[in-house]
């Protein structure tokens, strides 16, 4: 099930997100957040569809509070879209698959 979405942390954030060769979508989530649980399968499907083109990673805000604070995440799920190490777009709250795909395409010019 969760083969395509890499779980990252504060320690690996720079390597996996900021220095990535491809655009990255980061899912800020937590185990106690209902909409996050709904987001997970959608995120997983997108990770599979965009394999090689866009990277999808998730970060648990409970364990990585600093990263969430750095990026001013104050509500979850929040998705941050990174290109060349810079955040280029944000999605706060659950989004269904099709609208999320559109958002990914627009954010990264695909």
């Amino acid at each position: 099930m969760s083969g395509n979405v890499l779980e990252i942390s504060e320690a690996t954030f720079a390597d996996e997100v900021l220095k990535a060769d491809t655009p990255v979508v980061v899912d800020f989530w937590a185990t106690w957040c209902g909409p996050c649980r709904m987001m997970a399968p959608v995120f997983e499907e997108l990770a599979k569809e965009y394999a090689g083109q866009v990277k999808f990673v998730k970060i648990d805000v409970d364990k990585n509070r600093k990263t969430a604070e750095n990026y001013k995440v104050m509500s979850i799920p929040t998705l941050l879209f990174f290109k060349d190490g810079q955040p280029v777009d944000t999605q706060v709250g659950f989004l269904a698959k099709e609208p999320l795909k559109q958002k990914v395409n627009t954010a990264f010019g695909l």
């Binding site: 106690w32 209902g34 909409p35 805000v61 001013k72 104050m74 509500s75 979850i76 269904a96 609208p99």
Partner: protein, 310 residues
């Protein structure tokens, strides 16, 4: 046969307590049922930490767990679930269609159980700072306010319950209400007043919400004293009332002036074969216990409608 080829006996829009209770009743009586939910089973109740007043659970039950159990019960009897957002409906005629982000579904009867959502306050700064300190869900976002100061706007049951929930995280919670008197039940009022982290600001309205990339303060006006001041806060949680999720219906069924669906005590709307249940219906008491009752009635009435058509 795919779902899009199937003509369901009952299409239910909304997977909250009303929709899922209807699904339990309908699928248990051998009707084919599809529930279309845009986000999370349980609907609004899934964001309630604990359901205290549902009969039969003396210790209460978690809102999210309640939603999951309802879904499991409906699935057990054969209900199918679709995760999709409804974009339009066509409700006239024998076969009714519902257009969604995952394709078009068809049914012989339709139950509208789309519930309500939090109403925005309408204060300047609110829209711009949404998700940046302005929140409509304490259980979702409370965590981010550990050792911070927050304001809760509203004077009803939700405002007080969520305000008390937020004291688990925040060091200080202001409850701001535009009237002199709170609307919440007295049990909640007493509990909130006993909570040392809670301070009430009554007869007070939010003039605007201030902050650049996150909430920094709210500008308040005390109406009695005609005094204006800035209160530094890190977050603002809105519990100022609800609005029905009926925009997608257009004029396909009769609504009241606030947008709630008009249905009789058998949950029948102005369109034959189309029912409404739960918070989205014009009614006095919006609670899980009344929502599930509505759902059961609607399912039985939809079954009768189909029997008469045979």
């Amino acid at each position: 046969m795919t779902r899009q080829d199937t003509i369901y006996d009952l299409l239910i829009i909304g997977g909250g307590p009303a929709g899922l209770a209807a699904a339990v009743y309908a699928s248990r009586s051998m009707m084919s049922v599809l529930v279309i939910e845009s986000m999370l089973s349980g609907g609004q109740i899934a964001t309630t930490e604990n359901l205290d007043n549902y009969p039969g659970f003396p210790e209460g039950i978690g809102g999210m767990e309640f939603g999951q159990q309802l879904e499991a019960q409906a699935r057990k009897f054969g209900t199918e679930m679709a995760l999709a957002t409804v974009t339009g409906v066509s409700l006239q005629g024998e076969i009714k269609t519902v257009e969604t982000t995952e394709g078009t579904f068809r049914g012989r009867t339709v139950l509208l159980a789309t519930g309500t959502r939090s109403r925005p306050l309408g204060a300047p700064g609110e829209e711009e700072l949404k998700g940046k300190g302005v929140s409509y869900c304490a259980t979702c976002d409370g965590f981010f306010y550990t050792d911070r100061v927050v304001a809760v706007v509203g004077g009803g049951d939700s405002a007080l319950e969520e305000g008390m929930y937020l004291t688990k995280f925040a060091k200080k919670v202001y409850i701001i209400h535009r009237r002199n008197q709170l609307r919440a039940i007295s049990l909640l009022q007493e509990k909130a007043k006993d909570n040392p982290k809670i301070e009430f600001l009554l007869d007070t309205v939010i003039e605007k919400i201030n902050g650049r990339d996150h909430v920094e303060s709210v500008t308040l006006l005390n109406k009695g004293e005609n005094k204006t001041w800035d209160l530094p806060v890190d977050g603002v949680f809105m519990y100022v009332g609800l609005m029905p999720n009926t925009e997608f219906l257009g004029d396909s069924v009769a609504l009241d002036e606030s947008g709630y669906i008009l249905a009789n005590e058998n949950m029948e709307t102005s369109v034959p074969g189309v029912y409404a249940a739960g918070d989205v219906r014009q009614k006095l008491l919006r609670q899980v216990v009344t929502a599930v009752a509505d759902g059961a009635i609607a399912a039985v009435m939809a079954g009768r409608y189909l029997d008469e058509k045979k």
